[in-house]
Symmetry: D2
Subunit: 216 residues, 4 copies
Amino acid sequence: MHRVKSLPQYLLDRYQEWKEHTFPESQEWFRQLAEKGQRPRAMVIACCDSRVAITSIFGQRTGELFVHRNIANLVPPYTPDGQHHGTGAAVQYAVETLKVQHILVMGHSHCGGVRGCIDMCSGKNDALLEKDSLVGRWLDVLRPGFDRVKDIEDASIREVALEKEGIQISLENLLGYPFVKRAVDDGRLTLHGIWADISDMGLETFDGAVRRFSHN
Amino acid sequence: MHRVKSLPQYLLDRYQEWKEHTFPESQEWFRQLAEKGQRPRAMVIACCDSRVAITSIFGQRTGELFVHRNIANLVPPYTPDGQHHGTGAAVQYAVETLKVQHILVMGHSHCGGVRGCIDMCSGKNDALLEKDSLVGRWLDVLRPGFDRVKDIEDASIREVALEKEGIQISLENLLGYPFVKRAVDDGRLTLHGIWADISDMGLETFDGAVRRFSHN
Amino acid sequence: MHRVKSLPQYLLDRYQEWKEHTFPESQEWFRQLAEKGQRPRAMVIACCDSRVAITSIFGQRTGELFVHRNIANLVPPYTPDGQHHGTGAAVQYAVETLKVQHILVMGHSHCGGVRGCIDMCSGKNDALLEKDSLVGRWLDVLRPGFDRVKDIEDASIREVALEKEGIQISLENLLGYPFVKRAVDDGRLTLHGIWADISDMGLETFDGAVRRFSHN
Amino acid sequence: MHRVKSLPQYLLDRYQEWKEHTFPESQEWFRQLAEKGQRPRAMVIACCDSRVAITSIFGQRTGELFVHRNIANLVPPYTPDGQHHGTGAAVQYAVETLKVQHILVMGHSHCGGVRGCIDMCSGKNDALLEKDSLVGRWLDVLRPGFDRVKDIEDASIREVALEKEGIQISLENLLGYPFVKRAVDDGRLTLHGIWADISDMGLETFDGAVRRFSHN
């Protein structure tokens, strides 16, 4: 641990700039949020991708969105096996403790995780098949979707199709978590699927009744 | 799935506002990022808490930070058991595919997850002890830290102490991932621990040599 | 002129921070605006006051608002006497060259200029009466309004009343500029009066038909 | 005045969006600024041009910059003739009442006002020569600069040269205001000239000792 030291200078510089010049306008807001606790209305499950600008898109003010970000915005199936499950823990905390009213699963175009899944399932990246590939095993969550898109010939259309399958798989898996199912059945929680084209930031939302995405 | 429909109207309104009035200034930047792919310099592992304003703090422009967010910003121990491990997958993708130069573990004050761990370990929340409590089993990652702070009498000092122990545990666990260890040993990657007081946004950084946090 | 040197360091630091970290997202937008020329849809006439955050309020993107700012957001009467008239020049350029569709006169609470006019007209600040007081002579534009509010006993109500009188005087003066009158008559231009309470940023708009301000 | 009504709907929509979603974070800051009064450290004299993003460039928080904006960011010569002089009034208020420490005259590339002055002085726009052209009479302030650049053959180089001459003329005129001269002599006030290329937002600052602009 002797090698862990301070912050990269460029990030420290920016923090100090922000702290001195931007933060003062909001300091009372932050102080009150710390004192009263958070009351986010919605949870967003999004990708770690540096190009997915969630807080900008929704004009979010600090304290409004509870955000879980993982590779390819996946929700694995419910597995109460006593092991560590970060995504499930985040969802449970959002639903049971914070009592959020909405969960949004937000996918996006040009997703490296989705592309990795296609490569893995079509034999172009054997390293991802290894048992100890953490990325590969995580992307297994997306495998059922691959079967449904594998016959699409155009590579970029196939990729978008799997990005959207992933959102549906995650929504279905979410409904498999008993506390999510109960909250949805009781009308306390709504689930939403959205897909963003990160090249023009167009947004499509998922309509579960017809199982289709459409533009907004 | 028939109940999954569109977006909550208030979020849709804000998206459309942003898309029409703010996005145009950056559209070419987004288009190029989509085309050329992301090249983030750093990964941040932070909490899902709606009050943790990472992208603001670091004056981040779209495309700079690869962000994983989970409850209490934890990194579980390396477990190559073939199961789904979202945090490990995100770290592996950041280090091996994106080749980020820095990983920041960012903790914060008033953390509901850390408070939950204290309640669980001190017998005040038995529900978290159940095998099927996803939150409880996730917070098990933080248990070794509880033993080191349990004798602190003042509740809020104990809480901050455990928030900081959590950062150290995560940094140590990170070094247990073979691909992280190799990158750090080769000088390709540096690890950093920071703790933010969300009531005044003061930042403390961790100095591994003396195992202590100090103000910036 | 030998004393004129560079920039105050704190402003240079912030410029460089902005240039390096924020500007890149918008650089293509700026480049195109420079190349194609500005096409602002509206002109705003506002106060120089550092607390009047026009561009924030209207979610303005660069290139949308043509902004003239002077003490107390005043438009003097039309005076084609061959002398320098900065406000009239700005209005003429906006209407004849840029062909803006709207002119907003935006007043605000706690206006030091308006307070100065009250002090001057009620004998509490004789310096402002001197012929060579540039501030005093500028505030003469507001004098006709003082007569209409001078009998209001409550000082802060009188102040707000004069702030709103000032907006109406400026709107009336605007209609005295022949190129403004013509554009309004032809339906090419609309005039608007707004008053902002800078303590809570509430906005009131002026309805010319009933000569009254009302909340939005 | 019966035609003056409310706000253009698109601006009202944006105001309401800002008021509801962005303003709450800063409301306490605004409230205190209203209560305590403004204390801006610097005054900026800039152009009305919609592409000159002053508050962005200097990472300004509300309350920091006192801003006067007119066509071509000009300061006319000191004229204590008892008439309305908006620019002089703004400067006097900044120096004597607010006691700002710095005045920045900020010019920019692609300035329509400067181009208009060139057209007027070189016989290409006779309308600007009319006595009642408010734009033309305002641009007379810049005329002495035209004589110094008129022999430059390349049109765009001549334009930039006049933009920079204008900044110097304004700085010299500023020193002709007795209250400015005194404050500078006493070391209470510094003057600064900057020129921004709005196509790439590069900034040049004026060094009075060598009478030259150089990059930052």
